[in-house]
């Protein structure tokens, strides 16, 4: 498979062109903005929390195929999950795109997300695209009010 087909997998193309949960969630009780200043992408994430559980989720915004697919798949993964489980998924996804996650499916909870995004680690220029919605989700769960930015992904520390 060539490098492009490895990156734009069928799953990424599917979610990237027809994203799930792409809507303003009227019942949301949390809302968080995320921006990628490098390319002007932005995402607005809506969560309807029921106690510590994510009852429903939606997102809106503009982004590339990678960031849209990532947002779409992230929302399907966290729907119905507890806050703690969603944060664990974030940690696993972050490791994945840094190339630090064991790809054995028994060792993580990302399922097909891990397969779809495993090649991002080889493309540092697209890491910010993949992580934007995930970081926005974590910030929403932690009740942050400032918009999330992905600029610090450049830092080596």
């Amino acid at each position: 498979m060539d490098r492009i087909a490895e990156l734009y997998t069928e799953v990424i193309n599917f979610h990237g062109s027809k994203p799930r949960n792409f809507k303003k969630l009227e019942t949301a009780n949390r809302q968080q903005e995320g921006v990628n200043p490098l390319c002007g992408d932005h995402v607005t994430l809506y969560l309807e929390m029921e106690g510590d559980r994510i009852k429903d989720v939606g997102f809106q915004g503009t982004g590339c195929r990678i960031s849209t697919a990532s947002a779409s798949m992230m929302t399907t993964a966290i729907k119905g999950k507890s806050k703690e489980d969603a944060k664990e998924l974030f940690d696993e996804f972050h490791k994945l795109i840094k190339g630090q996650l064991p790809l054995d499916p028994d060792q993580h909870h990302l399922g097909h997300i891990a397969t779809a995004f495993s090649n991002i680690a080889n493309r540092p220029e697209r890491v910010k695209c993949a992580i934007l919605s995930w970081r926005t989700m974590r910030a929403a769960l932690e009740g942050e009010t400032e918009a999330v930015t992905t600029e610090d992904e450049h830092r080596q520390d």
């Binding site: 734009y8 390319c39 002007g40």
Partner: protein, 420 residues
């Protein structure tokens, strides 16, 4: 096509331009990227460097390195002479009246910040106005915003039309006695528009308002004559014109520079220092505190010699031919839309592809060895004006070929194939 006509009138034709010989001067262009020949279409971000510039930097560190304006020893004198000779070359390149009107900076950004802070501190007060345009790079927006915030002045913006052309009549109406500076780009990095700066300067001067031109994009692609333009300040960057990074130039008319306070204090910018009082050095040193980028200045001097030897008129004419060719074949691809369609344009092809984000365009082109920029091009207000989050931008230089534009067109076909 005034540029081409002008060139023909001088007896030059672009057929005289041997691009394949030019390419031999640029070692980086010989390389392969992802197994394909490099097609470098990102010169508006930074230009590639000819061997003579690379050699000049290597030679400087191998044979001439010493601090400038300090030592009595042989090497220091040698380095000082090379460093100051480069200033004379740059002076001639833009036809400045005096060598001391050439201030070395880190780049166009620093030059604009210098004027905003120095001129601003002295001449801009509460209620005054600064005029910029709607197609400025962030480097010609933010320094003025910072000044306006500090001094409670007002930032006003000349609107542009759907082709990306500045509305001159609107500008004429905006001028009034409170305006203390007009700062506009000479050539837009995001749209390629060549701004009618001469007309802007005439209008501003008729109301005694000085004009700063952001020449970061124009200096490598158009013949710049600061005396003919009669601009008050002209800022540009070395790295966009075949020179090294970290060096740039601020041209300023003597009388302005004389009347402006220094921004950075330190070594080299003083005549005498006591704890009670410091007397500042003469121009240009008043604005050049600290040990400068010596190898950068020398490299830039060699770069302007290199460009002058080819001839900016010929470069502009050849690049115009490439632009017309590129515009025709890129806009013929279904779903591709060119953003920035001014009558007067230089080598920038900013475009969108239906249903495909520019970042994905960039990644798929990169895989074919084609380097373009995808994003907002540090001109977010321009993106907003055209209602797009970002564009893909192919930017041309005199070392590009029509075959490379063909490769871009083929690459775009692949983009559409993969993503739609």
């Amino acid at each position: 096509m005034p540029a081409a006509l002008e060139v023909e009138a001088k007896g030059m034709r672009t057929s005289q331009f041997d691009v394949h010989r030019i390419r031999e001067d640029f070692p980086i262009l010989k390389q392969q990227v992802h197994g394909r020949p490099l097609v470098y279409l990102d010169s508006a971000a930074t230009s590639q460097k000819p061997q003579v510039v690379i050699d000049a930097i290597k030679d400087y560190y191998s044979e001439q390195n010493a601090n400038v304006h300090r030592g009595v020893h042989y090497l220091s004198q040698l380095a000082t002479r090379e460093y100051e000779d480069a200033r004379v070359k740059i002076q001639r390149f833009i036809n400045a009246a005096e060598t001391h009107e050439i201030i070395y900076t880190r780049g166009a950004t620093e030059g604009i910040n210098l004027v905003a802070q120095s001129y601003g501190r002295k001449f801009v007060h509460e209620g005054d106005e600064i005029i910029i345009s709607a197609m400025e790079h962030h480097s010609n927006i933010v320094p003025w915003q910072m000044l306006c915030e500090q001094n409670r002045a007002k930032l006003r913006v000349i609107p542009i039309n759907d082709d990306g052309e500045l509305l001159i009549e609107e500008f004429a109406r905006m001028l009034n006695r409170n305006v203390k500076m007009v700062a506009v780009t000479h050539l837009s990095n995001a749209l390629g528009t060549i701004v009618p700066v001469k007309r802007i300067i005439e209008l501003a001067h008729s109301q005694d308002v000085p004009v700063l031109l952001d020449g970061a994009q124009a200096a490598p692609h158009l013949k710049v004559d600061v005396r003919e333009l009669d601009c008050d300040f002209y800022a540009f960057s070395g790295h966009k014109m075949c020179g090294p990074t970290g060096i740039g130039v601020l041209y300023g008319k003597s009388h302005w520079l004389e009347s402006m306070p220094p921004v950075l204090g330190g070594g080299d910018m003083i005549s005498s220092v006591t704890f009670e009082k410091t007397t500042y050095n003469v121009l240009p040193y008043k604005f050049e505190a600290g040990t400068p980028n010596i190898e950068g200045a020398i490299g830039l001097g060699v770069a302007v010699d290199y460009l002058s030897e080819i001839g900016l008129d010929l470069i502009a004419a050849y690049e115009h031919e490439l632009l017309e060719y590129g515009t025709e074949i890129i806009s013929a691809i279904p779903g591709v839309k060119i953003i920035g369609t001014a009558q007067e344009k230089a080598g920038v092809l900013s475009f969108t592809v239906d249903g495909v984000h520019p970042h994905d365009v960039g990644t798929i082109l990169d895989d074919q060895g084609i380097a373009i920029r995808a994003g907002h091009h540090c001109a977010q207000p321009v993106m907003k004006r055209f209602n797009v989050p970002a564009t893909a931008r192919a930017s041309l230089a005199f070392y590009n070929t029509k075959q490379e534009i063909d490769a871009l067109a083929e690459g775009l076909q692949k983009v559409i194939e993969v993503l739609s």
